[in-house]
């Protein structure tokens, strides 16, 4: 499938997606454009598509799941803590005819087994993360905090050492994060996490990423503010994995909330990929 075909298919997902977005959950619908990039990249790396199981952590209204299903992933599990969002996601999926056995015309059609689950990540706000905390969105502010962040890292000691030594994911007990799923239970985990811009949410994107890394056996795709890039890549390294910036782009956050003064807020975001295990299908994959 070509990128533009994917984009146009995703553009037909019904909008508006959130009628009453929940501010503390930082709910923004992922745009078709952004979705098409993540899906296209993952498809080229053979992380999603036929034969692959995908988990969408914090699925919201399901854009990333819809993208994963459109390109023929064999199963998609949507996990979100908000019942309203999950039911919109379900409607959107149905509207698109995804995961619907009625839409299957012949045996050769790729079918996606779609499943939904309500679960909430356990997040302890991180006071030590200056970079992602704050009261509002906006890119200027985000950048400033990014700098403050790297300063505080420097003050911590060794240069190049991870800012916060976190336990490698193998040691993250599955009972620790509130997500009721076994480690390495899917091939690929994709997530568009809250960026942690609301009070009490500081560092929540990293909490999402860490759980995504725990759940995937192959690859993780996630969006993060570009201003936190350096810190993020070091954190991933401290978990024992390699992270790479697949693309840098603008996240166009529409004015959904009163505290947004401008119509739209452009935030610089990175699409990050964490490689868990690149073995081709049929090879030995690590099973925890």
């Amino acid at each position: 499938m070509k990128l533009k075909h994917l984009q146009s298919a995703l553009s037909s997902v019904p909008t508006p997606q959130f009628t009453e977005p929940n501010i503390t959950l930082e709910q923004y619908a992922t745009s078709p454009e952004l979705t098409s990039y993540i899906i296209y990249a993952a498809l080229q790396n053979e992380d999603i598509g036929y034969g692959k199981s995908v988990l969408d952590l914090g699925s919201g209204t399901g854009m990333l799941s819809i993208g994963s299903a459109i390109v023929g992933s064999s199963s998609v599990l949507l996990v979100d803590c908000d019942e309203g969002a999950l039911s919109i996601a379900k409607e959107n999926m149905n509207e698109m005819g995804l995961g619907d056995v009625e839409e299957v015309e012949d045996d050769d059609d790729e079918f996606c087994q779609v499943e939904y689950m309500l679960a909430k990540l356990k997040h302890t706000p991180r006071k030590d993360i200056v970079g992602t905390g704050g009261r509002g969105g906006g890119k200027g502010r985000g950048r400033g905090k990014g700098r403050a962040n790297s300063r505080s890292n420097g003050g911590r000691g060794n240069k190049g050492a991870p800012a916060l030594p976190l336990q490698p994911p193998q040691k993250i007990g599955p009972l620790d994060d509130g997500i009721p799923l076994a480690s390495n239970c899917v091939d690929t985990c994709i997530t568009n996490p809250p960026f942690g811009t609301k009070p009490g949410n500081a560092g929540i994107d990293i909490t999402f990423l860490r759980t995504a890394v725990r759940l995937a056996r192959r690859s993780v795709y996630s969006f993060h503010k570009s201003s936190t890039r350096e810190y993020l890549l070091k954190t991933i390294e401290s978990w024992g994995y390699q992270g790479e910036v697949v693309a840098a782009m603008k996240f166009d956050i529409p004015k959904l909330y009163k505290f947004h003064s401008k119509d739209n807020v452009d935030v610089d975001v990175d699409l990050i990929r964490v490689i868990i295990n690149e073995e081709k299908e049929g090879g030995e994959e690590s099973q925890e």
Binding site: G51, S74, S75, L77, C81, E83, L86, V101, V104, D107, D109, F111, Q113, E115, Y116, M117, L118, A119, K120, K122, P174, L175, D176, D177, G178, I179, P180, L181, A182, C185, E281, G282, Q287
Partner: protein
């Protein structure tokens, strides 16, 4: 909720030691035939906990026999080896994908915490004091 999903699930409520397999109380089950893909099922088997799958089927089989008329509810062998014939793969496909627990509860084996399943969606969200 499919039994495939149940296979990976575990309770994370405070006080849980192992948290799986979750017991299933099925109030309503449905059958929906999905396209059978032998290769996908075959690739899935090594990633499953077969014991939990048998357990899960055992939990819902009576309800399935009551509610589902379209198909005969498959019986799974006690163990499965490397060589899986088409017939067994089809049975596994049915059990993993086509039986849906639509209404009911999942129960944490350690704490007894009950998680409701509504319209096929398990609600595993914990209250703050349960985490």
């Amino acid at each position: 909720m499919r039994l495939l999903t149940h296979n990976y699930m575990q309770s994370t409520v405070k006080g849980t030691e192992k948290g799986y397999p979750l017991k299933i109380e099925a109030d309503k089950v449905e059958y929906e035939e999905s396209p059978f893909d032998a290769e996908f099922v075959k690739a899935l088997i090594p990633k499953l906990n077969y014991e939990i799958l048998s357990f899960a089927l055992g939990q819902i089989v009576e309800k399935c026999k009551q509610d589902i008329e379209e198909v005969q509810i498959p019986e799974l062998p006690e163990n499965i080896g490397e060589d899986l014939d088409e017939e067994l793969l089809k049975k596994l496909h049915t059990v993993l994908f086509d039986l849906h627990v639509v209404e009911g509860h999942l129960i944490c084996p350690d704490t007894g915490r009950r998680f409701a399943i509504k319209m096929g969606i398990p609600n595993m969200v914990l209250h703050a004091d349960e985490m």
